[in-house]
């Protein structure tokens, strides 16, 4: 069995490799325009825009909506778990919402981000950062509610961020550190910190970053720190 460190490096490398593959739009279109229905002939190119392409038009945001609104947990373009919801947007970005009071499964979120082409390192109880910080965070991540640098979210909802993988500089990954705070001023709340890291040089710490600032090497626009929720999982 490979060691945990080796497995981590393999996951990281695969995430980067998958994210590096920019799917040609023509390939996606060809794929969606094929007629796959039984009896329609093997590998026959559809003569017109098929229903699949029409459905793609919906997903690609060509003015229609509502088709996937009632999707179940893993519906079309939406991954919904108790702890987070990840939505693939028509413009290639993905929107992540963390749910208050739910314990995050870091491997699941990291894997789901990778499926959407977002290389990320997700940790529970630790946080990875680089010094100096890679540039470009503000082009990669936008936040709701909007905030500058660290922000505190009311206890009613979790943070929502939108990630643009195409804006991520080469050699970087998104680092998400998630903490269930058990002491101090914010005890009982959850903290999530987002920064970009240089995949060839970063360190991880089990100490939550100061909620009101970012790690050394990071300017005010180089990351997001969010406090949210009330009592965490199991009322801790």
């Amino acid at each position: 069995m490979p060691t945990e460190e080796l497995e981590h490096q393999l996951r990281s490398a695969f995430t980067r490799a998958a994210a590096d593959f920019q799917i040609p739009q023509q390939a996606r279109q060809r794929l969606l325009q094929r007629d796959y229905h039984p009896g329609s002939g093997h590998r026959r190119l559809a003569t017109g825009i098929t229903a699949a392409a029409a459905a793609a038009a919906v997903v690609l945001g060509l003015g229609l909506s509502g088709v996937f609104g009632a999707s179940p947990a893993r519906g079309t373009g939406t991954i919904r778990t108790a702890a987070f919801t990840l939505v693939s947007n028509p413009d290639g970005t993905a929107t992540l919402t963390l749910s208050p009071g739910e314990l995050l499964d870091p491997a699941a979120l990291q894997n789901d981000l990778a499926q959407y082409g977002i290389p990320a390192i997700v940790n529970v109880g630790s946080f990875c950062s680089s010094d100096p910080a890679p540039a470009g965070f503000s082009q990669v991540v936008s936040q709701y509610p909007a905030g500058e640098g660290s922000a505190q979210v009311g206890s009613g909802g979790g943070p929502t961020i939108t990630i643009d993988p195409s804006a991520m500089p080469a050699g970087t990954e998104l680092s998400l550190g998630y903490f269930q705070l058990t002491s101090g001023e914010y005890s009982g709340e959850q903290q999530a910190d987002f920064v970009l890291i240089d995949t060839s040089s970063y360190t991880c710490t089990s100490t939550p970053p100061d909620p009101n600032s970012l790690p050394d090497g990071y300017g005010p626009d180089d990351g997001i720190g969010v406090l949210y929720g009330g009592p965490g999982p199991a009322g801790s």
Partner: protein, 184 residues
């Protein structure tokens, strides 16, 4: 079984196609290192899933089934060409490489093209093990189920694949010059 006359079922399949297209293309690309091959694989996968759609649509995870079909297409193709034989057997003479040095080699990869090139040097089944375990995030048991082998075989194959990957990375003198297909 022809379901094309059923508008609801047909719509479900069309939506499924949209949902899984990127997943299949990326998986195909990781398995082959070639964008055109990835597209062909994704199309063939969807054709096969369509034939069984009435059954597949009731599965808990139709996308996982489609990924399984794609992986098996790659493996069957590799077997058909007889390019690799008994790839999960410890006969390849790959020098034992400790996990620590393998992790270090991966950590030091600066250009991810090096990793893709090294991955392409592995036999298809070893590549599949790594893709299923470390990109798809499947457990050893789930990977073994897809590959039709034991959990122990998956574990040992993963270690051997990591060792070969490390060796390939060590010998990747000019991976940047590899032919890469970025356009369909």
């Amino acid at each position: 079984m022809d379901w094309v006359g059923n508008a609801t079922v047909k719509h479900e399949f069309d939506c499924f196609t949209v949902e899984v297209s990127d997943l299949l293309l990326r998986t195909g690309y990781l398995m082959t290192g070639d964008a055109k091959d990835a597209e062909d694989l994704a199309q063939e996968t969807l054709l096969r899933v369509a034939r069984r759609w009435k059954r597949v649509r009731s599965m808990d995870h139709p996308a996982a089934y489609a990924r399984r079909v794609l992986i098996n297409l790659v493996l069957h193709d590799a077997e058909r060409r007889s390019r690799q034989k008994a790839e999960l057997q410890p006969r390849d003479g790959a020098a034992e490489t400790c996990d620590e040095s393998a992790a270090r080699a991966l950590r030091e990869v600066e250009d991810i093209a090096e990793f893709r090139w090294a991955l392409a040097q592995l036999p298809a089944r070893q590549r599949a093990v790594l893709v299923l375990r470390y990109w798809a995030g499947l457990s050893v048991a789930e990977s073994a189920d897809i590959l039709g082998c034991s959990a122990g075989t998956v574990t040992s194959a993963a270690s051997r694949a990591a060792a070969r990957l490390t060796q390939a990375l060590a010998h990747s003198e000019s991976p940047a010059s590899e032919p890469t297909t970025r356009q369909a």
